[in-house]
Symmetry: C2
């Protein structure tokens, strides 16, 4: 009667969703202030005032049919030119409107990229810990997701395992830096080595292997440089979103950068967007991002929260890498079973996500895009939780 796979995908609750709903239920029982919900990666910094001002300026100065009409599928050419210019200024690239394809956020950008590239038997490689929707999206276009185990010392890339996994079916590598959930940023050395391996393997298999660089957290990084991947490896599609940088996750606006020389990929991206029925990215939002290109992201809250939670967890006896970006910490659990650990944390109304959901068992994710005061009050509870393991 219906497509049972779609039913399953539409109705099976994710672990994160289940934890979040548990939190809502507990909040109703014991009060919002007694729940310490670190489960959701939903930006809590308010959308900047300049976004509101820009919308009103557009509404007051442009013809409504020009604001709200269809754009061409890749997006308003002037908007694309403006964003290309802004990217050129930041990263020394040489792009114009024809290198940009505006999308309804990063989820659309990466899935359009998967669909544009994927042929029969293609494999896409990613590195644990990774965003779990990758598997769903890659499989939906007929590809297979290959996951390389995490290099837990620093959450860079386990290159030995990676090299072994590349074969004639490898179509693309998906990277996500700053990373959800590890909070790590891939260093220049990592990107260089990744590029070298891919150049060598592309030659060996006589076909391009692409990087899909999923970068919704690019603007949220603490005193570390984030290499611009196409400057190291041209066969890269950069998937960007304004969801986190401008706190606009519900509006679905982002883009794909398609470097020079990849015109055929750009054509396939247009076809993929068409059949995924992304007719065009929301037209008002296209205008807004062009006018706000280059405006800063306010990451002061995330920085403060990161330090507070990191220091608190270290103080309580946890092992955790220093946060470099995004708004997640990914500490080691105090027992090997991350599900059991997160269940035990629930006793203190600490809501954490098991690392196994990100392909990295034995760890947990704590999203710190929440009130600073909530984090402050959670620290004694983390101490109590840790104390249980010392007895």
């Amino acid at each position: 009667m219906i497509n049972s796979k779609m039913y399953e995908l539409g109705t099976k609750k994710s672990t994160i969703r289940t934890i979040f709903e548990f939190g809502r239920k507990r909040a109703a029982e014991v009060g919002e202030e007694n729940i310490f919900d670190f489960s959701l990666g939903n930006p809590n910094v308010p959308t900047p005032q300049f976004i509101k001002d820009t919308i009103i300026e557009i509404l007051n100065t442009m013809e409504p049919t020009a604001i709200h009409g269809y754009t061409v599928a890749p997006g308003n050419p002037q908007v694309r030119a403006t964003i290309a210019k802004s990217i050129n200024e930041r990263f020394g690239t040489n792009y114009d409107a024809s290198n940009l394809f505006i999308t309804a956020g990063a989820a659309a950008a990466i899935t359009i990229s998967f669909k544009a590239l994927c042929e029969d038997n293609d494999e896409f490689i990613t590195f644990a810990p990774y965003f779990p929707e990758y598997k769903c999206f890659v499989e939906s276009v007929g590809g297979k997701l290959i996951v390389i185990p995490a290099q837990v010392e620093d959450f860079q890339i386990n290159f030995d395992e990676f090299e072994k996994a590349i074969n004639e079916h490898t179509k693309a590598i998906i990277i996500n830096s700053p990373n959800n959930p590890s909070g790590a940023v891939y260093s220049e050395a990592t990107i260089k080595r990744l590029s070298e391996i891919l150049l060598k393997k592309s030659e060996e298999f006589d076909k391009p292997i692409f990087i899909i660089s999923d970068e919704p957290y690019r603007e949220i990084a603490y005193d570390v440089e984030i290499p611009y991947v196409p400057n190291y490896y041209n066969n890269t599609l950069v998937c960007y979103s304004y969801s986190k940088s401008f706190s606009l996750p519900g509006e679905r606006i982002g883009y794909i950068v398609v470097p020079n020389g990849l015109e055929k990929v750009y054509g396939a991206i247009a076809g993929a967007a068409r059949v995924l029925t992304h007719v065009n990215a929301p037209s008002l939002w296209q205008l807004v991002i062009a006018k706000c290109a280059g405006m800063p992201s306010d990451i002061s809250t995330y920085r403060r929260n990161a330090e507070l939670l990191y220091n608190g967890l270290i103080d309580a006896g946890f092992t955790c890498n220093k946060p470099q970006g995004a708004f997640y910490l990914f500490p080691k659990c105090l027992e090997s079973d991350d599900y059991a650990f997160c269940e035990r944390a629930k006793k203190y109304d600490l809501l954490l996500v098991p690392g196994n959901d990100f392909g990295c068992p034995g760890y947990f994710r704590a999203a710190y895009c929440i009130k600073t005061e909530t984090i402050e009050r959670s620290l004694p509870l983390f101490k109590k939780l840790a104390a249980e393991y010392k007895n």
Copy 2:
């Protein structure tokens, strides 16, 4: 290297696009005012003032994170409840938030519906003349589109051909009333007979056969009633869009109505939206449509244009059904080859779309969502074109 099917879908120009681009080129040569471009179905009535006022009201009264944050995938529950209430008031239905799934426009709504329903070897039936993207969308989810030839006397349904086409693989019937490109509205008698046949065939094949009612033009109708299909046949998914009614085609906002008893379909719709990466419909626009639910569409321009063009064409000797809705006329060409006819019309800078593109050769589509004055000045040219066929 890439998916060649996606490349083809992304780069092969549609007839409409080719005609439109020809028009832009001609306009540069002979002046905008000398081009009579009837090719595009792009609303030319300005977006109503209440849309602008509503956006500003929302920005001034709500917290930015509440405006721009993620909503649940089916859309903000209060928005869905408000729209359900508005539908109940208009059509006497009994819906609540759980019957609505907000989408990024009608293209997303119908394709999500196709993907939610489609299993191996499934067939979807539609009636010529039809929106050509149906074929692309149905095939992209693995289905097969079956087209029933047009009933050109009145552009209702050729039921004899229809009955013969239904078989054990038939999953759904796609209807589009008011129709692009015919401008016809399906009468109550048509919907009743369609429902009777589908009830009988559902029983015969012991499985539900669905109607997918694609209704972006519902508000644009001239003194005819448009039956609300679920009131006649419960296994109906209504796909609605605000693109035409509020002149918001670039913003991508619409919904699917899933009648009571189709909860499993609703679950599959959620899965289909997920893999097509429609994470949620743009959140600001969800709020806008809720606040504007029940506001009227201004169709006075379309009505005036419809009459003017219809009378002009009849006067020039064309055969054409009276416009009932949408913003298209679909007259008979003055020769059997509609491509040749539209080529000949180009001599007068009359840009028309051959009916063959809509599965109905020998006719042409004239989109009258253009300036009234342009239509006025085009009428002598249609006369000259018709005169060529009298010699």
